[in-house]
Symmetry: C2
Subunit: 190 residues, 2 copies
DNA sequence: GAATTCATGTAACTTGTTACATGATTTA
DNA sequence: TAAATCATGTAACAAGTTACATGAATTC
């Protein structure tokens, strides 16, 4: 129960459509919250039923109808309540298929693992570039349309994503070194 | 669909009960895969129905009956298939309530966020100690009962957890510094 | 003319969480 | 004697994924 809260949070900035939310999440919130479009629409219906949000139909010539959602007073209260209530354990539970496979790596050829870890490094490098781009967009445009307090926290999270990606690249490189040593050792002593 | 695979993986080491699996996951796999006991038992039934695992009832005087599960040939094949098939995107989707709350931090008092981030740092420090302990256990006992190839990969993941925890501590401390500057600035210029 | 973006959603299914229940043995 | 550990599960619910459907407008 937290996609609901993310939606309320986005609507606390400004009214938007489900589609807008999906895009917003995909290139910012995305780093720590993901949702399928279908899930968003379902949640929007649920939130509207509870009276936490409402929508206005926007019809324009030569365009599809858009349901522009906005947050209600009740919604703001609910969001504030949730926001103030931090969980006891701040580390979320993880489900990481990649790491699980590495965990059972002894049942795979070392070369295969080497290959997957180098893929992992490349993925993290791409992530760094994506973070650069988000920062660029925030710095260039959002400063004008968003309040500096918001930008302050977005930057903190941006730093977090950056440090995590960098650390994982370093880790991956260390893994490659160790794996290469292992492969060499296997060659000498089969 | 991956708790099923983690269970098969654990059973590829040795036969065990659902209870054993829960404990094993809680202090190793736990860092990248979590499961409730109830979920494990449900999955065990499902896997048995599919013929991927089977169990033997172990009755002992003065103890409860244990269902000792073991993997079948079919189960081994299924596990190997899954293990070789890495996902295209290696980064799992995240659901991080803490980060989401920081994202909307502009709607909270800075002092509250400061407090939560220091809690976060303490949590990560505790995590580091937990990793130390796992390493100690692996180094002291598991070398004898587990094959060195397995220990090799467990150590790689241990390094990963360690570097992540350390990075997040560093990040948290940087946040505190910036927040303190912000608080001070607000004092000067209210 | 084909692919992509905008925009909405339903249905079926799979996973994950929470609460509850039971009962023996072992340790503090 | 109370709490913790061992050991198993069921039921109800909440959340997430996948596949499918529709259709207009825009860009290549």
């Amino acid at each position: 129960m937290s996609l609901a809260q993310s939606i309320l949070g986005l609507l606390s900035y400004e009214p938007m459509t489900g589609y807008d939310m999906k895009r917003f999440m995909d290139n910012s919130l995305n780093f720590f919250w993901t949702a399928q479009a279908s899930q968003i629409y379902r949640e929007l219906s649920a939130l509207e039923k509870k009276g936490l949000i409402a929508h206005q139909l926007e019809t324009a010539e030569g365009r599809m109808d858009r349901k522009v959602y906005h947050i209600t007073e009740k919604g703001r209260e609910e969001f504030a309540r949730w926001l103030h209530d931090f969980p006891e354990t701040l580390t979320p539970s993880t489900r990481d298929e990649f790491s699980t496979k590495i965990f059972f790596g002894s049942q795979l050829p070392l070369e295969e693992i080497r290959f997957q870890i180098s893929r992992y490094i490349r993925e993290k490098e791409a992530e760094l570039k994506a973070i650069d781009y988000v920062d660029y967009v925030i710095g260039k445009y959002s400063q004008r349309i968003h309040r500096p307090e918001e930008v302050f926290f977005w930057n903190l999270l941006s730093k977090r994503n950056r440090i995590l990606a960098k650390s994982l690249i370093t880790w991956g490189q260390e893994c490659l070194t160790e794996i290469d040593q292992q492969i060499e050792a296997n060659h000498r002593d089969p």
